[in-house]
Amino acid sequence: MAEVLANGVRLHVQRLGPSPEVRPSGETIVLIHGLVVDDLSSYYFTLANPLAAAGHDVVLYDLRGHGHSERPRTGYTLRDGIADLDGLLTALAIDRPIHLVGNSYGGAIAIGMALDHPDRVADVTMIEGHYATEGFGEEMAETLRLVTVGIQHEKWRNWIVERGRKTMRLARRGVTLIEDTSIELDVLDMAPPLPSALQALTIPILAIYGGASEVLERGRELERLVAGTRLIVLPDLDHRVLFNTAPYLCEVLLWWYAGHVGEPPVFVPPDVPFEPAPLSRAMLPSA
């Protein structure tokens, strides 16, 4: 396991490729995962290897408190996340502009990085990506509360038990992160970027969102505000785009990094229905 000290925190990092059989593209892609019940493995067995096989240098890391990275008690604001990524790039001696991919909350770090360190970022891909907007901190805090409440909830608990001890361990680890650290308070501490700051972004943005996702509006707003945004909406999909459509995402990313000429690959929904997300806000007890 590769550990890198970045911004004072030990981060678990995996770096793949480029494959020896292909000519290196010279481009570095950094993949940023989502919050709490996520880690770098979401990318490791899905997008990372095809991107490395195409000649790219692919960097994956566990956010602080997640996966195999160190879990300090504090330091979970969006600013900390951006500083961790900046520190990681410095520690890895990556000084050329990189391509960022952010899934869910990872999108907020990617956009924040592009705003705060524009010289470091070549482009951003948002997979159901959030970014700081008015009320986003409260929304994230509510989602964290949903995790801790959800594990007590009979319906969700049964869903976890049916999937075995592995899923139960994952859920418990998420609850521990929330209970043992300042993350629930820290997510509230974020100022949304001004629309003018977003409008000033000159980098290309690839925004991929599910048509049935609660987050889709973020993609539409990016398309309105940032001139270089290419929005792809996948019909009927909810927030779990990465989980449900990884092979298609590989195709789209390879098209994107090959210069995104013409139209993106066509999305063909699989025959089997998508598994709906187990959690919903309806599970939260009313205030």
């Binding site: 770098l40 493995s41 490791y44 067995f45 001890r165 592995k166 994952l170």
Partner: protein, 92 residues
């Protein structure tokens, strides 16, 4: 393989599970995805780029992953090492 698995299995209740060639990573060892990452990392460190466990797993769907056995991985590693040995054998 037993040594590598002992190092990556996170659940203390499972660490003493007997490991045979038929032991499954899914239902027997209940390996989490991040533990698979650690296993892939250890195999890469020991055998180098000739054992691309990530590529091996990338070709598998969810059902394949659940039923994957220790024997499947041992055979895959042995095949990679054998092919690597043939490729690097000096000519003449």
């Amino acid at each position: 393989m037993r040594r590598h698995l002992g190092a990556v299995i996170g659940d203390p209740e499972l660490i003493h599970t007997p490991i045979t060639m038929d032991t499954t990573f899914g239902s027997d060892l209940e390996l989490e995805s991040i533990e698979f990452v650690a296993l892939a990392d250890r195999l890469r460190t020991e055998f180098g780029a000739r054992v691309n466990f990530v590529a091996f797993l990338s070709e598998k769907n969810v059902d394949d992953m659940v039923s994957l056995t220790v024997g499947d991985v041992v055979r895959y590693v042995a095949e990679c090492v054998r092919e690597g040995a043939v490729e690097t054998k000096p000519v003449g």
